[in-house]
């Protein structure tokens, strides 16, 4: 599998923490901003979905690559919030991008490890010989569903998620043509952490009821079953346990040292966690790419978004990348990649 192109799209609407200071104790807002490191993020307008953002990222990339859309024989869209219960949002992308009838099209429900998991799945498809060119679309637009719009933020329990989570869509172009970019892969899952990052209600186990949407005043601090719940300390403990080992395993498989890597791209969980994991995994600080301060945590989009917006000269020249995703599931995966030149387009804003 050769990585030939990456692009990203974010909504135009920039959200800064300022508005939270008007409604909440400055102590609380400072503490969240200080830890997450998110100074601004993007929020899509009502009606815009993850697939819209991904499609807007993919269109100019396909053009920049000079790919005839009819030569793309797989498109996988990674998101936790599809446009509809069915069909998969990838089918919308398939139609909008003008892809051929002979095309493998489906969604993957994953968050933070979505890009790296998606890369591994596409690697398998390409290796099967039946597929030559594939698009991996990773995007998230949960605003208005699992967390409120910043302008509608009222409850203390929604503050951290509203300041942390941003909307974005990305496209990654992969092909079986030419030399492979993949030098090492690894992955894993721990189902005992199933409830650590969760939206309880809305699926078949806990179908929505009108009561789930109500919020009683005395329960202001408690999240409802329809809200996104993140158990911070447990997630840190999980990442602490798994991520440094993931990096070591990747390096061992490739026979690389930490210094051999030119750019480290972690899932942009939050600034505190990225810095801690980087330190713990002994990642050279100067080689750590970070975009969390500008775009927030964008789930499966965060690694490709960071490559596009922080990759700089690495996109133009031979580069060794270490990419690692970890989170909801709980799940983790990583790839060491070696690229010559990655085609990209300026950040798309819609």
């Amino acid at each position: 599998m050769r990585l030939v192109g990456v692009s990203a799209c974010v909504p135009k609407n920039i959200i800064k923490p300022d508005l939270a200071y008007e409604k909440f104790k400055p102590f609380d807002v400072d503490r969240i901003v200080g830890n997450t490191g998110v100074l601004q993020k993007r929020e899509a307008s009502p009606g815009v979905t993850a697939s819209d953002l991904c499609i807007a990222a993919a269109k100019p990339l396909i053009e920049a690559l000079g790919w005839d859309p009819k030569t793309i024989d797989a498109v996988i869209l990674v998101t936790m919030l599809g446009d509809h219960y069915l069909p998969s949002s990838a089918h919308r992308a398939h139609e909008q991008l003008g892809l051929p009838d002979r095309c493998m099209v489906f969604d993957m429900n994953l968050g933070c490890s979505g890009w790296t998991h998606g890369m591994l799945v596409i690697q398998g498809l390409l290796a099967s010989g039946g597929i030559r060119r594939a698009l991996l679309l990773c995007g998230e637009m949960v605003t208005g569903f699992m967390k409120p719009y910043a302008a509608e933020l009222e409850h203390r329990s929604d503050l951290a998620n509203t300041l942390l989570i941003g909307d974005a869509g990305t496209a990654t172009a992969l092909t079986s043509e030419g030399e492979t970019s993949v030098r090492a892969v690894d992955f894993g899952a721990d189902g005992t952490g199933f409830g650590q990052i969760i939206v309880q209600a809305g699926g078949s186990r806990y179908p929505w009821t009108p009561q789930m949407f109500e919020r009683r005043e005395e329960e202001d601090e408690t999240r409802r079953p329809i809200d996104l719940t993140l158990h911070g300390p447990q997630i840190l403990a999980f990442a602490m346990k798994r991520v440094p080992g993931l990096l070591q395993s990747l390096l061992d498989k490739a026979g690389w040292t930490r210094d051999d890597v030119d750019a480290y791209v972690f899932h942009q969980a939050n600034k505190f966690m990225i810095n801690f994991l980087a330190k713990r995994a002994k990642v050279p600080e100067a080689k750590l790419l970070m975009s969390i301060e500008e775009f927030g945590n964008t789930s499966s989009a965060s690694i490709p978004l960071t490559i596009v917006t922080r990759g700089g000269a690495h996109l133009e020249r031979p580069t060794k990348w270490a990419t690692m995703g970890f989170g909801v599931g709980l799940s983790w995966s990583g790839l060491l990649l070696e690229t010559d030149r990655i085609t990209t387009v300026p950040l798309v804003e819609i």
């Binding site: 503490r31 830890n35 300390p233």
Partner: protein
């Protein structure tokens, strides 16, 4: 990890002065005693090679409770 090192690190987490902390100090009296403090303490323990279950940190009421969690690793 020495007791002085631990108290100094804990004071930083709680955004207070080390001299304001004794073994009987009530953690729940600090505005900073929240999930962020638990995360910061996990990191402090981890950096000293001490493995603690995150749920147990939140259950601690006093400085002594925290020290007891480490099973004698704070001297």
């Amino acid at each position: 990890m020495t007791k002085a090192e631990f108290i100094s690190a804990l004071a930083e987490v709680l955004e207070t002065a080390p001299e304001k902390l004794t073994t009987s100090t009530d953690l729940t009296g600090f505005e900073c005693w929240d999930s962020t403090a638990v995360i910061n303490l996990l990191v402090v323990f981890d950096e000293h090679g001490i493995k603690i279950e995150e749920d147990k940190i939140r259950d601690c009421k006093t400085v002594q409770d925290l020290m007891d969690l480490t099973g004698g690793k704070i001297q």
